[in-house]
């Protein structure tokens, strides 16, 4: 009896102590979410006409987002006429092709309006995660696509998507250079400034205007213009003015003006009034200003140390200047991420190739984004700071490309062949 008692007493604490060890595992490989984006279902003839254009934009947005791995449509096993609700979808067929999420769109045309409905499903659980209806004018299926893509982006990341924003860029036309303003993907681009040489566009604070340097009056000057509107001169005092950059609140503008042998940075009101000098290095060039998202600092390029390097100054106290890059001997075209932590820039490496890098503003750590793919230049962050648009001549002509801020998922924008440069991704 006592033996049994003793034994059970002995065993009780042992059982409690027999605990499984815990191993901590971290360092996940973050990879894009495999998502299936089947063709949109057109509910009537009108919808069938605009469906391809909608699909072009929507599919490209999803592919370029950087957070999705859009699965190849050829691999889809599901019936093309499969239903639109969770109960009528055979999720196992989507799981078989590796999809973890499924997004379906239905389009219908009603008079002069295009109505779209998007539904997002989790494939493993068959749960409907998002349902959205949006109506646009019939001639703007791309607008609908960007709206849905942004909603999808926000659903997953809780961050605003970048697809309803705007892109300004320069396209060579004969001997001149024209400035265009279009959707983020360069589509629906309208010429803002044509004829003469127009350079270095920057999207205005509302996304509907562009500031640029133009030779239209014979001398390079800074103009602001809306698509289809007239050009407003911002700074026209005869000297070469370049690299306009709007402060994040849109109230001020920074630019570089040639003076004697050098060029100095100025900050002025958004209309060009009340210019204040920011730099004072008469024999050196200071150019390409870019604002920090809080509007307190400006990063720029200066050759004051012999080679072009990236510097950061405080706007309230321009004497407070700090050199940011110490690697490489030709660093230029900085663009400050709207997230604040990184500055993307172009650098020429020891093989004389131009490539894109980011530098961490606080730590100064330089990270390479492109390599061994032609020349890659002039980066510009998306308004949410997750993507970078740039120009690259890897396919021959200088085209516009987009990639994630880490240099992944590089894709060419769907523009017609041409010679494109200096993209600026604005609101």
């Amino acid at each position: 009896m006592i033996r049994i008692l003793t034994l059970s007493l002995l065993l009780c604490p042992l059982a409690a102590l027999a605990q499984a060890p815990v191993i901590e595992i971290s360092g996940a490989n973050f990879r894009p979410l495999p998502i299936a984006v089947p063709l949109p279902q057109a509910l009537n003839d009108g919808a069938r006409t605009v469906s391809p254009e909608f699909d072009d934009a929507f599919f490209f947005d999803c592919s370029a987002a950087g957070i999705f791995q859009v699965l190849d449509r050829k691999s889809y096993l599901a019936d093309a006429r499969e239903g639109f609700t969770a109960s009528t979808i055979t999720f196992s067929r989507w799981a078989d092709v590796g999809a973890e999420a499924l997004v379906k769109v239905q389009l219908s045309v009603d008079g002069r309006e295009l109505r779209g409905e998007m539904r997002l499903f989790t494939v493993s659980s068959g749960k409907e995660e998002l349902r959205l209806v949006h109506v646009v004018p019939l001639d703007q299926p791309r607008k609908l696509a960007h709206f849905f893509a942004d909603a999808l982006y926000k659903q997953f990341t809780r961050e605003p998507g970048p697809f309803q924003s705007h892109l300004a860029f320069v396209r060579r036309a004969g001997k001149g250079k024209d400035v265009y303003l279009g959707d983020w993907d360069g589509k629906r681009a309208a010429p803002v400034a044509q004829g003469s040489i127009n350079l270095l566009p920057v999207v205005g604070p509302q996304g509907d205007s562009v500031a640029f340097t133009s030779y239209r009056s014979g001398k390079p000057a800074l103009y602001l213009q809306k698509a289809g509107g007239a050009a407003t001169p911002l700074v026209t005092n005869g000297a070469m003015v370049t690299g306009a950059s709007f402060s994040p609140d849109g109230r001020r503008i920074a630019y570089s003006m040639a003076q004697g042998e050098g060029a100095q940075l100025f900050v002025a009101d958004a209309g060009g009034g009340n210019p204040q000098p920011l730099t004072d290095t008469p024999y050196f060039i200071n150019s390409s200003p870019t604002w920090s998202p809080d509007g307190r600092r400006i990063a720029f390029v200066s050759n004051r140390a012999g080679t072009p390097q990236i510097y950061v100054l405080t706007v309230a106290n321009p004497k407070d200047v700090r050199r940011l890059t110490f690697q490489g001997n030709y660093n230029q075209t900085p663009d400050w991420s709207p997230r604040g932590d990184l500055i993307a820039f172009t650098a020429r490496d020891e093989r004389n190739a131009f490539d894109l890098f980011t530098v961490n503003v606080e730590s100064g750590k330089v990270t390479r984004l492109t390599q061994d793919q032609g020349n890659n230049q002039e980066p510009s962050f998306s308004p949410n700071g997750r993507l970078i648009v740039f120009n690259s001549n890897r396919t021959g002509a200088s085209m516009l490309w987009v990639m994630t801020a880490e240099g992944q998922n590089q894709k060419m924008l769907p523009l017609e062949k041409g010679d494109y440069s200096t993209p600026d991704w604005g609101p």
């Binding site: 499984a20 060890p21 595992i25 360092g27 990879r31 330089v366």
Partner: protein
């Protein structure tokens, strides 16, 4: 009937005075306490080496040899991005290695040359088992090792810990999490998976012990565990514990 009652143990208590009863109870309590503490002490003494989660149990880093890149130069991307994701069936090991009971092969050991031998088919299961870590050795080694790492890339301290470290590194290779999870959420995601590993290294059971609250993350960690299996056979002294109580894998992004 009556004789049974008179012999019944109840009479033991009845016959004693109250003082004796308290004495008995007191000593009973003392003896109980002593037994319990003895049991605890015994269990403590014979416990497996505990895992300190704050301290990394193993340091298995490979150090890249050669001259470092000039700091004045811009950095270069040294390695191509990780190989495309493909569902790999467990590859059979080239040679049926003799059954080793202790010390599995070092992590970065080069695969032995391919040789055909008779009776290879029979050794299929065993190959699968020993092939588990072979999967690891075939993957590209991490060339950006810590500067203070061991040049041989293996500084296993103890066998048990080494096994857990390998378990961890094998699972980490399949630990793919969706990019869509926002940064703000990544910070606080934690999921626990309880796994039971057989003496042969097969994954017997895997159960989501604690959900992270994020379906994508939960399914990613379960997938990682399932894809990483089979594991190498556990060392002798861990076999019982792993097949009975298993091990809890705590995942953070």
């Amino acid at each position: 009937m009556t004789s049974v009652a008179s012999v019944a143990p109840v009479s033991l208590l009845v016959r004693r005075s109250e003082a004796t009863l308290f004495k008995f109870l007191f000593w009973s309590a003392v003896v109980h306490a002593a037994l319990v503490s003895l049991a605890i002490a015994y269990a403590k003494l014979h416990e497996e080496p505990s895992i300190d989660l704050d301290q990394k149990p193993i340091k298995a880093t490979l150090v890249r040899q050669g001259t470092p890149r000039d700091e004045k130069l811009l950095p270069r991307i040294e390695q191509a991005p990780p190989p495309p994701m493909e569902q790999k069936a467990p590859e059979p090991a080239p040679t049926p290695a003799p059954p080793k009971t202790v010390a599995p092969a070092p992590v970065a050991a080069p695969a032995p040359p391919k040789t055909k031998q008779a009776g290879e088919k029979k050794a299929d299961t065993r190959q699968q088992l020993f092939g588990a870590f072979d999967k690891m050795s075939k993957s590209k080694p991490d060339t950006t090792g810590a500067a203070d790492g061991d040049p041989n890339g293996d500084s296993a301290v103890a066998e048990g810990e080494a096994y857990y470290a390998r378990l961890r590194s094998q699972i980490t290779r399949f630990y793919d999490v969706s990019d869509t999870i926002p940064d703000s959420e990544r910070i606080r995601l934690t999921a626990q998976v309880a796994v039971v590993i057989s003496a042969a290294g097969q994954l017997e059971r895997a159960r989501l012990a604690k959900s992270s609250g994020n379906d994508l993350f939960d399914s990613a960690v379960m997938t990682a565990v399932k894809r990483a299996a089979p594991f190498a056979p556990p060392p002798t002294h861990l076999r019982d514990a792993l097949s009975k109580y298993g091990v809890v894998l705590q995942f953070r992004p």
